[in-house]
Symmetry: C2
Subunit: 304 residues, 2 copies
């Protein structure tokens, strides 16, 4: 089934202890779609760019099954630009530059055919834009997932709570889950967040894996210990893209299937961090993906 | 088979966001032995206390199968005392007081019958004391595990490297693995640490679980998301105690069996943190332990 994604399409300049890149392809929607495309070729994009974004990258997305009619291109304007520097421990980063550019006046408009899409992934953006997308849906999607960040909790908590009320799966990191719930125990955070609307909570913990909560069930997908981690940028989006791409393709929202989706999301994220930008994510083979899922199995399998 | 443990037997005063306790039972060896005693009742203790340590606690250890002939009692002196305060995030703590007391002149002496013990757990102590225990062994134990901390890397790296050369399993946290190896990737840390002597590396990540490395194999035991975490003190020792207690009892040092041991160690640690001191750890039933291991299985089981 088709998956609609709203999110940024952007340029990034990134510095990590392992290298530095300038004005490379980035953006939450870009990572989400590339990851999702390994499972699902019926994808829709809602975003905005300037005329500086390379046309061949749009064509590359189209070749991965992405309908780009919802991608607005503003002539004479610049695409969203983000620049950041990671600390030595790679779990923390400083934002150096955030140039909203075209994003400042982004008013998402769903083209014909997007309004009945059964699976929706709302990438990290202002809660107002996320809500505007939900409002344009003609029928309630089977599953709406939303990614957000602490910044929106700090500056737009009320709008965020409104949109969170409308969704099924909230995807945030552990610090954000604690901030949103006011609870230190992630188990308690989950139970509290369920009272805000979502029926599922995914807590991303970066190099420490990810947790999926539903009612009183909990599932944990580890992160694979890797020899090389060059750049964590986009890992969370890639994870969400693999997760939602897999669910939409299988059209199965059972907890059992979401567990599989969490593993596939984690596998895609493990590729993402091995290189800067989309350098690794654009060239994963089916065999490599199978091998990596096998590594996840062996990583946690025990016999008691 | 029997397990020899050297480590502190101490009093702790602890403050966490969830409470405060004063001069309660603590110490690395105490936690190790209690955890190990759920699997193994052939235990030996090498440590030192003053005449202030409660006799009933020594008797309680004896009832759990601990040979306490190696526990020196110094009349007119005080037991080791540690006091600490945990930050809101529970992953960090400040040491408020460290009174070495009897520990200042501790010269471990192995009583008759300890010198041929096949399994040895060297709790976190000065590398010199850890080495003194190894030197008193008459035949090379089947498996020697060693726990240490960043403090000894800062002040006694040379002695630490000497004792690390003599052991089989090094048990440290992720930050310490990075400090010891100079590598950020835990996978690379493991490969580097293997060149220092150990054939196995266990990396404890607290609420994020634990990794076991051996040659090019890696296994991950998650930490159970808990509703209540009151006090993390002793969790690492409890984990090590469950791990080594299980291995010694099964007398099986295969990687497959160590995976099981890692899960049992994690299960014991999950009980430890639910209350202060030994309050939870002293009263775990067989059924509770089985149930908890079942929770670990469900936590990571997926079907791909």
């Amino acid at each position: 089934m088709s998956l609609l994604t709203v999110g940024t399409v952007a340029f990034d300049s990134i510095e990590t202890p392992f290298g530095k890149v300038d004005k490379v392809i980035g953006g939450a929607a870009t990572y989400i779609l590339w990851a999702a495309s390994y499972f699902n070729r019926d994808l829709q994009l809602v975003s905005i760019i300037g005329d500086d974004w390379p046309n061949e990258e749009i064509m590359a997305l189209q070749q991965r099954g992405v309908d780009t009619r919802g991608l607005q291109i503003k002539e004479g304007e610049k695409s969203f630009f983000w620049s950041g520097r990671y600390h030595d421990n790679m779990n923390q980063r400083d934002t150096l530059v955030t140039d909203l550019n075209v994003l400042a006046d982004f008013d998402p408009a769903l083209p014909e055919g997007y309004q009945n899409t059964p699976y929706v992934m709302l990438g990290n953006l202002t809660p107002e834009i996320q809500m505007a997308v939900i409002k344009q849906m003609e029928q309630r999607p089977k599953l709406i997932a939303l990614d957000t960040m602490n910044f929106w909790m700090d500056v737009a908590m009320e709008s965020l709570l409104q949109v969170i009320k409308e969704i099924d799966v909230l995807i945030i990191n552990d610090e954000e889950a604690r901030q949103l719930s006011g609870e230190y125990s992630l188990m308690k955070s989950a139970l509290k967040i369920f009272t805000l609307g979502p029926k599922y909570l995914v807590i991303k913990k970066g190099e420490h894996g990810a947790l999926l909560f539903h009612e009183h069930d909990v599932f944990f997908a580890p992160a694979l210990p890797l020899l090389e981690v060059k750049d964590p940028t986009g890992a969370g989006d890639t994870f969400a893209g693999g997760f939602m791409g897999y669910i939409a393709e299988s059209d199965d929202v059972s907890f059992q299937n979401m567990k599989r989706a969490l593993i596939y999301g984690s596998a895609m994220a493990s590729f993402c961090v091995e290189e800067f930008s989309l350098d690794r994510l654009q060239g994963v083979t089916e065999q490599e993906l199978d091998d990596r899922v096998g590594q996840f199995k062996r990583l946690v399998h025990f016999d008691i």
